[in-house]
Symmetry: C3
Subunit: 140 residues, 3 copies
């Protein structure tokens, strides 16, 4: 049994950018000698989120559009009164989805479904560098 | 310390079907010799979700009804334009709730609250067979 | 490798109370000899939730306000017809956010972002004592 911590950095392009990190995470698992276990994927930010989705061109719009219905762009957020950074909506979306998932893997392959990708959603109002902790744990 | 992977399959009956899998998961834990640890429950699908709820006849309706307010049936989803399978709403609901939970157990008993059940929510527009990975980890 | 289970109890003050438990959880990690690993934080209740947020006075209001848009106070919930306890909305909010997070730590420090706190959100209609399981796992 072994635990290995890694941090990967991605760069999002804009608000609502969705990045498929499945291959990136699997590559990091394969760079270790851990064969069977799980990876906890944890994004160290309060305006970005981690989940899974079937990532196609349609859902790339539908998922952010759903979040806009919950946290509209044109609403007055209390967060703005102090910070004036325009991302009150971003914080509440990210907290609702959550910052983390734990995904089992076997033979260094994530046990995702065929149409299921591990993604980062940029909830902030512009693209940003994002640090993601990967804690890879299991049997060598 | 030991890790055991299992896959269980359930069959949902219809859209918004909620299945309590607490007993099923505990049974799988008891079929191992791991006494104290955690189980990561991961559904390998992009139109079904895992969470906990107090599962009574009322909330069985209230939870899906809330999701309908977020992702209405009669909205035009971009996903539909390519796939025409009527489940754009299903994908966005499932991604919002999430596909996975990690639940601690002790003496092979899940550490859930008295009124708290581990559930699968069918977000798709009809019942389906659903594969759920259980990664059981801990001390024998 | 070692697993240690702890239960902490907090007292929420009222509906929508948000409690930052980051320091409390780190203190529990430091009370063990586990240096590097992860903690699964699991709230044993169906009307309270766990997530991360940048906890400032603005978002303390914005996050509950968003949830009110999804699960309004004045809606008729099926849960009420049997229980008449006024917390149908609380259950659906808590199930949507989720009861748990797994957070990696290193040198007994949670690997959270600079502006990211681990929080409990009280979704019920009054403050309550809340039991939270911490399963601390890793290398000594």
């Amino acid at each position: 049994m072994k635990i290995i911590n890694k941090t990967i950095q991605i760069q999002t392009k804009c608000e609502n950018d969705i990045i498929n990190i499945s291959d990136l995470v699997e590559k990091e698992i394969r760079s270790t000698d851990i064969k069977n276990g799980s990876v906890t994927v944890f994004i160290k930010h309060s305006t970005a989120a981690i989940t899974t989705i079937e990532l196609d061109a349609g859902l790339e719009k539908d998922f952010p559009n759903m979040l806009k219905r919950i946290a509209p762009d044109d609403l007055s957020y209390e967060h703005e009164k102090k910070w004036h950074d325009g991302n009150g909506k971003s914080h509440v979306k990210a907290s609702l989805i959550g910052p983390s998932l734990t995904i089992p893997f076997n033979n260094q392959k994530l046990l995702l479904g065929t149409w299921q990708q591990l993604i980062v959603l940029e909830c902030d109002i512009k693209g940003r560098p994002r640090d993601i902790v990967l804690q890879i744990f299991g049997e060598t």
